[in-house]
């Protein structure tokens, strides 16, 4: 009885599969897919290029144009540039690690790999990214004495307050990203438990 009913479903399914679909041909689909892939790779590359250019411009601006005079300012600059470089390295490593996740394995195997990747991302997001923001901020505020020699107190206060606002926005944006990825991790863990 149950099998009869299921066979009906199967027939219906096969019938629907043979219906003309409005889907583009496989060739067109592949070309669109490859185009999307190229665009996504280009976007990732652009991210890294923008971060690297920011790093170089900042280094030139702080050391050549501002002509820093005190050791503390150099430490500040070092912290800012160092944390940016660390961020770029982590971004590249994360992309390489994500690209290694193979979808050709069975689902159970894939979920195990994906969970490992997101647990690693959890560490990166949870501790290293926050550490990067903190180090960058300390570096920025270490430049305050140098700024005071160049600008009025009011201008320096505006610069520092402006940075604080940016740091708060950055913190919440990172937090949103972490929550999104951790929710995804939870879903993959549920998926894996459903396979066991």
């Amino acid at each position: 009885m149950m099998n009869d009913s299921f066979d009906q479903m199967k027939n219906m399914w096969q019938l629907a599969k043979t219906e003309k679909s409005e889907l583009a041909s496989e060739k067109e689909m592949l070309s669109v897919a490859l185009d999307a892939h190229r665009k996504s790779k280009k976007a990732h590359r652009m991210n890294i290029i923008i971060l690297s250019i920011t790093c170089v411009v900042m280094a030139v601006f702080l050391t050549k144009i501002l002509r820093l005079s005190s050791v503390i300012s150099y430490v500040g600059t070092g912290l800012m540039l160092g944390s940016l470089v660390l961020r770029i390295v982590i971004e590249i490593y994360s992309q390489l690690k994500a690209a290694k996740i193979e979808y050709g394995f069975n689902t159970l195997h894939l979920t195990e790999h994906t969970i490992k990747f997101y647990e690693w991302r959890k560490k990166v997001h949870g501790t290293i990214t926050i550490l990067i923001v903190v180090l960058y901020s300390i570096g920025f505020y270490l430049l305050t004495p140098e700024f005071l020699m160049m600008y009025s107190k009011l201008v320096v206060f505006a610069i520092d307050a402006g940075y604080f606002v940016i740091a708060v926005i950055l913190f919440f944006s990172i937090r949103a990203g972490v929550i999104k990825e951790m929710n995804y991790l939870k879903k993959i863990i549920l998926l894996k438990s459903d396979l066991n």
Binding site: A16, M29, A36, Y103, T107, I188, L191
Partner: protein, 146 residues
């Protein structure tokens, strides 16, 4: 094959299914150099399709708890009005758990149990029991909707 699986997994939403199919094509293209021929190319493509569907939950606005309604299902109407039972089938499939959904879609596609087992990584014996349970669930859901 890929599109029909993605469309049914996405509860009949053709636009979402097209995006998902594109994602599958990209993954197949990227993974092709690593294909070792241990399974048939068909099983391998199914594996990538199933994995892409199951892991496509990051931006999925339609989580399991938010079931699809009929208006979202995009099945071409025909003169014999056979699309209604098909919509019912989509709706019933969409009420299943994610893993159960892909398993039953492969059964509907007439894949052997050994192939399904190698795709999802569930032992064949356990898979048989599970498929029996999913069929029961589907039947009950369709009966209740009638």
């Amino acid at each position: 094959m890929v599109f029909s699986l993605c469309r049914a997994y996405m509860g009949g939403d053709s636009d979402l299914a097209k995006d998902l199919t594109q994602e599958v094509f990209i993954k197949v293209w990227k993974a092709l150099p690593d294909f070792k021929g241990k399974s048939s190319i068909k099983t391998w493509i199914y594996r990538i399709s199933v994995n892409t569907c199951l892991l496509h939950i990051r931006d999925d606005k339609h989580s399991k708890s938010e079931s699809f309604n009929e208006s979202q299902i995009n099945v071409p109407d025909d003169e014999n009005n056979t699309s209604q039972p098909f919509k019912d089938l989509y709706l019933a499939i969409n009420k299943l758990k994610d893993v159960d959904r892909v398993i039953i879609l492969m059964v509907l596609d007439e894949l052997k149990y050994s192939e399904i087992s190698s795709i999802v990584g569930i032992a064949e014996g356990a898979l048989r029991v599970r498929i029996h349970r999913i069929k029961q669930q589907l039947n009950e859901m369709i009966k209740n909707d009638e």
